[in-house]
Symmetry: C2
Subunit: 413 residues, 2 copies
Amino acid sequence: MDIEAANQLAVQRMLEAQPVLVGVARALDAIPGMRPDLVLHAGPPVPWERMSGPLRGAVLGALLYEGLARDEQEAVRLASSGDVRFEPCHDHATVGPMAGVTTASMAVYVVENRTHGNRAYSNFNEGYGRVLRYGAYGADVLQRLRHLNERVAPAIGRALEHMGGLDLKALIARQLTMGDEGHNRNVAGSALFARALAPHLVRCDLDPDTLHDTLRYLADNDLAVLNPVMAACKATADAAHGIEGATVVTCMARNGTEFGIRVSGLGPRWFTGPAPTPKGLYFPGFRDEDANPDIGDSTITETVGIGAFAMAAAPAIVRFVGGTPQDAVAATLEMYEITLAENSAFGIPALDFRGTPTGIDVRKVVRTGITPRINTGIAHREPGVGQIGAGLVRPPLEPFQQAVRALVELLSR
Amino acid sequence: MDIEAANQLAVQRMLEAQPVLVGVARALDAIPGMRPDLVLHAGPPVPWERMSGPLRGAVLGALLYEGLARDEQEAVRLASSGDVRFEPCHDHATVGPMAGVTTASMAVYVVENRTHGNRAYSNFNEGYGRVLRYGAYGADVLQRLRHLNERVAPAIGRALEHMGGLDLKALIARQLTMGDEGHNRNVAGSALFARALAPHLVRCDLDPDTLHDTLRYLADNDLAVLNPVMAACKATADAAHGIEGATVVTCMARNGTEFGIRVSGLGPRWFTGPAPTPKGLYFPGFRDEDANPDIGDSTITETVGIGAFAMAAAPAIVRFVGGTPQDAVAATLEMYEITLAENSAFGIPALDFRGTPTGIDVRKVVRTGITPRINTGIAHREPGVGQIGAGLVRPPLEPFQQAVRALVELLSR
C-alpha cells in the first residue's frame, strides 16, 4: 500500500472538487437514508443518555417541530424510548452547524460536486438569538423555523433553479479575499449570496410577503451562506474519502460530548475523544462555566482547509480572544505543518495569495503534536438557552493517535 | 492665527462627519447652482480647448444625452461655442468618478452629513465596458445611461426613502474590514449595498422589469457603491473646508489635464499642476502610450483617508502593479507621515484596527516630499474608447508647494 500515492489522490480529489449549490429540497426527499423517525445530529454517534444539553434541546425541538411529540414531556419520553433513531449527519452526506439536528420535513440545501458527482446537504441557517441549533426549542423558535423551512427555503430553491445553480467554489474563493474565513465569519459570502439571488428571486412569481421575507432573511443574516459553504466542504471531503491507504482526515465533527474524526483510508470508523470547551468571548452575562463542550459539524470547513485554517484571511476574528493580525497569520502558517497541499483556488491576500493549507494528515498531527485549529460558536450547556459566545478551540490529540494506531494495524495485517 | 487649533477643528469636522445616503434626485432639482446649460466635470476648472480626450468624449455624450445637440458634429460646435458652461463638480458640492460629467437631467445620489447639515451629490455608476465616465459616447452608451438614470436610479431612490436612508459611515467602516479600500475596490461595499436595498426595493410597487433590472444592476456592478461613497467623502471633506488658518487638504481632483487641490484655510482657490499618468495594469491590447493622464474626483476618497490611504485593508489591489501585501501595508503607513489624525471609525484589520490616516496637511507634504498616494482607473486618451486599465499614481508636488506659499503670504499680511 503506497500511502504517499493514496494521499496524493485524496488531496487531489479535494483540490479538484467543484461544489455547486444546485437547489433546495425536503430532507426526506433528498438525504440518502432519511426516514420520518430519524433524527440526524452533529458529530460522531451519541446515545440520548450521553447527549449534552444543547443537543438534547435541539432534539426535543425537532420532535415537537415534526409533530412526533405534543409537548416537552412527551418529547423527552420519545427521545429516550428508542422509538426514534439518532444518527450522525455525516453518515448521510449531511452537515449541520452546532447541534446539526435535521429531520424529515426540514428543508436542506443540495450541493453537487460537479467533478466527482457526489452530493451533500445542509439545513438552513436560522440566524441569531434563540435558535434550534443552539438547543433552544420554545414556541418562538419553532415558529421561526417553520417560516424559514416553509417560506424562505422554497423561495431560495426556486431562485437557485432559475439561476441554474451557484458556483460555491468561486464564492468561497471570493469571500476569502473579503475578510471571511468561511466558518465563524461569513458576512462577505452571505452578502454575495444575497446579491446573486436577488434578481432571480424576483423572477419566481413569489407572493410579495414571501419575496420580502426571503430578501429580509438574506439581508439580516451574516451566516446565511455558512450552511451552503459547509455542504460544499462536505461534498469536497466526501470525494476524498475511502481511498485505501490514505491518511487524510475527511471529517472532523463534535456532538457536544465527543470530538471525532474519520480518515480516508479507514472507512466509516470514528475516532473520538472528549469534546474540549472553546476559549472565546462571551455575550454579556455569560462566562466559562456556562459553556457547553464544543459542538457541530461546521469543522468540515477546517477539514478542507478553510475556517481557522484560513484565519490569516480574517484577522478580525482573532480579536475575539484578544489576538492580533500576526496571530491570525501564525494560525494559518501553523496549519501548513499538518497538511499535505495548498489550495491554489483559495488564495489568502495577507499571505500574497498563498493557497489555504489543505488535507490534514493524521501522521503529521501525531508526529508534530500540532492539533488542527478550529473556530467555533459557543452554546450554553443547558438546553433551551442558545448561543452565549464564540471563540477558538483545539481538539484532543487522542483521536488522531487512535487513527494512526489503526493505520499501523491495517498495514501490519 | 493658530494653525494647530484650526487644523484640529478641520480634522475634527472630518472625523465627526456622519454621511447618510438619504435619496436620489434629478441633478437640476438637487445640485446647488445646477442649470440646463451647465456641464459639471471632474477636477479643477478646464476650458474645452484644454480638455483631454476622455473628458471631451464625456462632454459630447452629455450634450447628446441632454438633447442639446443632435449629433457629434453639433455637440463639438456647441461645446466650443461658449453657449454651454463648464464648471467643476466640486464647486457644486458634487463629485463624479473619471470624467465626472454631470448634467441637468441626470440622477444623483443625495448624501447628508448629519453632524454638520451639509449635503453632497454624485451621479450613478454605469458599471464596466463602454461608459460615459471614460469618455465613450456611442448610442449604446447613451441608451445604457438613460436606462440607468430613468429606471434604475429612481427605483433605488424609492428604496432609500422606504428604508429611511443608509448610514454610509457604517458601510465604509464595514467594507474596510472586507478587503475594500473604497476607491478602486468596492466589491464588499457594493454587495452590502445591494443586500441592504433588496428587501426595500420589493416594497416600492415597482413594475417587475424595473425591479429586476435594478437588482441585476446591483448584482453585476462591483462599483455600484463607489459613487455614494464618494459623495459621503465629499460631504465629509466639505464640512472641514473654510476654516481660517487650516492647512488641511479638503479636495484633490483631476480633470485629465491637471491635478488640483484645495485647502481648508485658502477658500475656493485651486492649486494645480500637470496630471500624472498612472502606473498600472492594462487590459489586453493596451499599453502606457494609450493612457490618458489621471482623471476624476474619486480622489475625494484619499482626501478623507480611505482609497490608497487605506491600502493595507485591500492587499489584493497591489497585485495590479506586481506588489505584495507588505507593499499595501507600507503604503498606508507612509500616509500617516503626511496626515494629522487617525480615524478610529475606520479601523484597518491588518494594522490591528489602527484608524485610517486622515487629514492631509500641505505643510507635511512639502516638508517630507511625500505626496499622497492615489488608486485610480486608467482611461484611453482618445474620446469614445473607455477604460483600458487600473493602477496607482502620485500627484505632482507643485500644487502643495503653491498652497504653502499662499499660506505664508496670508500669514504675513
